[in-house]
């Protein structure tokens, strides 16, 4: 980037222009700019770019956030000062090329036949003879043959008292300088064409306003729309299966603008192809382009690494998400009426209002659906991949906005021969899920038995009836139990069942600790739990009786354990209902990136030029030799000198060979090879 030639301007007064040019084309400035660009680029990699302002504010606090925002550090590569460095680099390079090219061309062409022997004697590579036995003419003609055989271009001049032969080779290497430096300018210009300059300009002059709201496209005002005449942009859009759009969204700072397209893109289907192991193999979208310029719609399938180019617009597979899948659900109240589920149809991204048992308003937001859940399961040191099947996610929020985040699976999982339906819950999206295990009916895939048990447990009328019956049966087995004691036990049992249904064992224990003196906690807890369990058993027997089961099997016993464990966990579940997925229609949205980059060809051309230039610059050394000969009485006085702008160590050897050939001397024993090392 600096001039390789000496400045022709004589010292003394120079014009301002000359001084400016000298400064802009100076090596110092060029190196400074290279280093400045490198350092500035580091900033943008250390600080994550293009995040939302809220995230930055959280990360850095108000002071640093304001400073960083003002300095443009959140968008370093489109910040004014960064672009300024680039512009200066382009100017510096251009000035350098402008100043050095003439000298370079002279250097490539000029054979410098007027060279003086004195200067040749000072060359690093030179051979001098004061009395060479041959005549100058013979010497010159052999020298010419030697040089030509090695691919040198040769010129001779007769200056009367002496003759000069000048030879050169690899002058194309000098073009390397020109190509590399022009390439940098070309690449930067290409990049600038594809940059956001037009959009930034439009925003600066007030013709464009950044939209920061999340609203439907139809509601986005004209000021935030960019017409199809915009030559270059990079936008993205998510299109659900079966829908079409004619816009793309270009993110700008903390918002976006809408780029209009001259055609509609319809997404027919999106697919995730998987390996046998469950890992993703390909993401594919079946597209149809509806364009008035086309005779009929253009159908095409794109995938990662295989975009579609249409009218200069390139459409890439970038991402995917749910596109509003339809879910057919059953809603089981986790309390009274648990045995009477309500059918509930929902769509992902839909929000539904529910009234709680106590009359409070709840909002249910469906956030995601996934038709497969490949999971790595490690059992006895053996890793195995398995598919957990479809799952969906939803949030249940109360009026304060606090939410319970859930993830429910459609298929049961099996543990120790028993099957459960899983429902995950967490109060913070950053935490892992805790799972509620709802036991499945021993026969069939329903949760009816569990729900009936829960319904009875939470129905005061049923509880009262069961308790009455249970205590009477028990009393009948003993002599002398009076009605007063029975009623007291019944009352205790009823209270315990109610407490357990509302708060689990923990609440029961708390009640013991509240009612009994500390020394008797263990004894009282034992009695209370026995009463509670006989009540629960009685309710369970009733559930079994309804199913027509008279004899309680081991399987039924285990079911009760699981059911009680689940009910015990309900207070931590948050939501007052359980959603079971019966059926679904999976609708996906394909995330497309749409770009228009007319500067791409320019950048590629510049890149090719750059590579070509670098190889010329580094590997084609401009080698030149001069033979200066003066007729002397005893033969000839001569100076043979050479220079190479690259690879001087290789030139050492070549010059050695050349000088021997030119002077007609035989080669000494080739022992000098190692001397160089």
């Amino acid at each position: 980037m600096s001039s390789t030639s000496t400045d022709p301007t004589p010292p003394g007064r120079r014009s301002t222009f000359a001084i400016l040019m000298a400064f802009l084309g100076s090596m110092g400035l060029a190196i400074t700019l290279l280093v400045a660009l490198a350092v500035a680029s580091v900033v943008g990699t250390v600080l994550q770019q293009n995040q939302s302002y809220e995230a930055y504010l959280l990360d850095y606090g108000p002071f640093w956030h304001e400073l960083f925002r003002t300095l443009g550090i959140y968008h370093v590569y489109s910040a004014g000062w960064y672009l300024l460095i680039l512009v200066f680099l382009v100017i510096s390079t251009s000035v350098c090329v402008y100043r050095s090219t003439p000298a370079m061309i002279r250097d490539m062409r000029a054979f410098r036949l007027g060279v003086k022997d004195k200067s040749l004697r000072s060359f690093q590579h030179n051979v001098q003879r004061d009395a060479h036995p041959e005549a100058p003419a013979a010497l010159m003609s052999r020298a010419e043959a030697v040089f030509r055989a090695r691919g040198y271009r040769v010129r001779q001049a007769d200056h009367g008292d002496h003759r000069v032969l000048s030879a050169m080779r690899g002058s194309a290497g000098r073009l390397g300088y020109f190509f590399t430096h022009v390439a940098i300018v070309v690449i930067c210009i290409g990049g600038l064409v594809d940059g956001r300059l037009p959009l930034m300009l439009a925003e600066f002059t007030g013709r464009l306003e950044i939209e920061t709201r999340q609203v439907p496209v139809s509601e986005i005002p004209e000021q935030s729309r960019v017409s199809i005449s915009n030559p270059s942009f990079r936008g993205s859009v998510e299109i659900p299966e079966g829908q079409r759009v004619d816009v793309a969204f270009v993110t700008m700072r903390d918002g976006y603008v809408v780029q209009e397209l001259p055609f509609h893109i319809e997404v027919k289907a999106f697919r995730v192809e998987r390996h046998a192991t469950g890992q993703e193999r390909a993401f594919e979208t079946d597209l149809v382009i509806h364009d008035a310029l086309l005779d009929e719609p253009l159908a095409h399938t794109i995938s990662v690494n295989h975009p579609l180019v249409h009218r200069g617009y390139t459409i890439y597979q970038a991402s995917f998400r749910d596109g509003g899948s339809r879910l057919s659900l059953d809603m089981f109240p986790l309390g009274r009426g648990a045995d009477r589920p309500m059918p509930f149809d929902a769509r992902v991204f839909g929000t539904y209002s529910q009234t709680g048992e106590d009359g409070s308003r709840l909002r249910v937001e469906f956030t995601d659906f996934s038709d497969t859940n490949p999971t790595l399961i490690e059992e006895d040191g053996v890793r195995e991949r398995m598919d957990m099947g479809p799952s969906f996610e939803f949030v249940v929020r109360d009026s304060s906005g606090a939410g319970w985040f859930h993830r429910n699976f459609q298929q049961p999982i099996e543990r120790d021969g028993r099957r459960y339906l899983l429902s995950g819950v967490r109060q913070n999206p950053a935490e892992p899920f805790s799972f509620l295990y709802i036991p499945l009916d021993p026969q069939g895939d329903g949760v009816d038995r569990f729900m009936r048990f829960l319904a009875k447990l939470t129905d005061p009328a049923v509880v009262a009836e069961v308790v009455d019956e249970a205590t009477r049966t028990a009393a009948g087995q003993f002599e002398g139990v009076d009605e007063g004691l029975r009623a007291q036990v019944a009352e205790t049992m009823r209270g315990l069942l109610e407490t357990f249904a509302a708060g689990g064992y923990e609440e029961v224990i708390a009640q013991v600790q509240e009612q009994a003196p500390e020394g008797q906690w263990d004894r009282m807890a034992d009695i209370f739990l026995r009463i509670l369990n006989s009540g629960l058993d009685a309710i369970y027997l009733r559930v079994l009786a309804e199913e027509g089961i008279e004899v309680v099997s081991e399987e039924d016993e285990r079911f009760l354990e699981d059911a009680l464990r689940a009910i015990n966990a309900l207070p931590f579940y948050g939501s007052p209902f359980f959603l079971r997925l019966n059926d679904f229609e999976h609708i996906q949205a394909s995330g497309l990136m749409i770009t228009r980059a007319p500067g791409q060809a320019v950048v590629y051309a510049g890149s090719v030029m750059l590579i070509l230039g670098i190889f010329l610059l580094l590997y084609v050394s401009h080698r030149r030799c001069w033979l200066w000969v003066q007729p002397r009485p005893e033969g000839a006085g001569l100076v043979l000198a050479g220079t190479s702008n690259r690879n001087t160590m290789d030139f050492n050897r070549e010059f050695d060979e050349i000088s021997r050939a030119v002077l007609g001397e035989s080669r000494p024993a080739p022992a000098d090879q190692d001397a160089r090392a």
Binding site: L37, A145, F283, N305, Y316, M593, V603, R660, A661, A677
Partner: protein, 446 residues
């Protein structure tokens, strides 16, 4: 290169006339092999694959002419790879039963051989630096052996006992120096370095053959998986070792100087240390299918090109270290081991420049290829992804280095320091970005 010229002649034969019969035999072999592959497998290859084959064959042909030693190497790699591929047949299970696969040429076994041979080669090169010399004592060598031995063992102990986890993987590098210094004085010639050079050739052959056999293995795991094994961090570290060793061996042949080996092989050994940890501790050598973003033809050209760049920069940095030690030795003790044994400053400076030059040229190509791939996969040829940005930083750094050398004529100590700094920047761009910054290249993470 040199032509015996006892009789003086102006004649200087053209390029083709200077080729030997062996060169023509090589050319014939490459052409026949290429035609054979096209004839037998051509119907299963698409235009890109056929094109890649032809260009690769042409490059190999030229490389064999330009660098005579490459021919033997290429033949050895071809032989080993064919043994590996045909021993497999159609089932991966052969790796457990077939002798060749189990102990020599399965992807995993060959790479382990490469690692072992590289450690041995490094030791041999280092030993040569400590060779005996008539009239001089062997104390410096023994002191070096004692000190490095103690440091290495301490490191090993600290790593094993959990004081500094991971140190046990790095300590062998110090122990290599200790063993080299201990064994060095046995010989008084450069015999050890010649052994080191043979070992390095063998290691490079095992490494490349290992990768080629692994290529086949990816298809044996599952035909839909098949990919060129330069696609994850484990594989590219093997590639780095192979390319760096080959580039070094080329410069060793050109300069006929065996003194650089101890330094260059040290950085390769560092890569081996990482590879061993990555294999034995993390089991990263297990073949896994590629994520869709990496399933591209561009992988074949982008990654190897990049590693010629990294290899060149690594060699330059290690020669920078040698340069600084030599310069310091000359200043402090002109008669000491450093000043006498290390290559001359001219040679170090020249090879340092050459490796940065070749590295820079290939790094430029790799970055341009990367941009073209990015345009196809991500929708933009440049999106200021951390990896891209760091590639730019590396490029700018070496561009500045070359500018100062060409235009200001900078040489010597500052440029040596700069070459070392350059490797630190390059290393960050290579592994650091994946570890700390993420971005679109984050699939290459640890």
């Amino acid at each position: 290169m040199s032509v015996a010229q006892d009789t003086v002649s102006a004649e200087y034969p053209g390029y083709f006339r200077r080729l030997s019969p062996a060169d023509w035999l090589w050319a014939a072999g490459v052409v026949v092999a290429t035609i054979f592959v096209l004839a037998v497998y051509g119907s299963r290859m698409n235009i890109y694959q056929s094109g890649t084959l032809v260009v690769t064959a042409a490059s190999g042909l030229w490389l064999g002419w330009y660098w005579k030693s490459f021919k033997g190497y290429a033949l050895a790699v071809t032989g080993m790879s064919l043994v590996g591929v045909f021993s497999y047949g159609d089932t991966l299970a052969s790796a457990q039963t077939n002798f060749f696969l189990k102990y020599l040429v399965s992807g995993e076994a060959a790479v382990m051989w490469m690692c072992a041979l590289l450690y041995m080669s490094t030791t041999a090169y280092l030993a040569s630096l400590f060779r005996r010399e008539a009239g001089r004592g062997v104390m410096p060598a023994l002191v070096t052996a004692a000190v490095t031995g103690a440091v290495g063992m301490l490191g090993l102990w600290m790593g094993r006992s959990g004081l500094v986890p991971g140190l046990e993987w790095a300590s062998p590098l110090v122990l290599l120096v200790a063993v080299g210094a201990l064994l060095g004085p046995i010989a008084s010639t450069d015999f050890a370095a010649r052994v080191g050079s043979v070992l390095a050739w063998c290691a490079a052959a095992f490494g490349l053959a290992g990768l080629l056999v692994r290529w086949r293995e990816t298809y044996l795991h599952d035909p839909t998986w098949g990919y060129i094994p330069v696609s994850n961090l484990w594989e590219v570290f093997v590639l780095f070792c192979v390319i760096t060793v080959l580039m070094y061996l080329y410069y060793q042949g050109r300069t006929r100087n065996l003194g650089m080996g101890g330094f260059v092989m040290m950085v390769v050994s560092a890569a081996v240390a990482f590879l061993l940890w990555y294999t034995l501790d993390r089991e990263a050598h297990v073949v896994q299918p590629l994520v869709p973003a990496l399933q591209s033809w561009w992988m074949k050209v982008h990654v190897p090109t990049n590693f010629v760049g990294y290899g060149g920069f690594a060699i330059a940095a290690m020669l920078g270290v040698a340069y600084l030690m030599r310069a310091r030795g000359e200043r402090r003790r002109p008669d000491g081991l450093l000043a006498r044994r290390l290559p001359s400053r001219e040679v170090l400076d020249d090879v340092m420049y050459k490796s940065i030059a070749i590295g820079f040229a290939f790094f430029t190509i790799a970055t341009v290829l990367g941009a073209m791939w990015a345009a196809e996969a991500w929708g933009a040829y440049w999106s200021w992804d951390p990896k891209e940005t760091w590639a730019l930083i590396v490029w700018l750094n070496y561009a500045a280095w070359l500018h100062l050398r060409f235009t200001k004529g900078w040489r010597g100590v500052p440029m040596a320091w700069w070459a070392i700094l350059g490797l630190l920047i390059t290393t960050f761009a290579f592994v650091g970005v994946n570890m700390f910054l993420g971005g679109l290249h984050s699939y290459g993470s640890l």
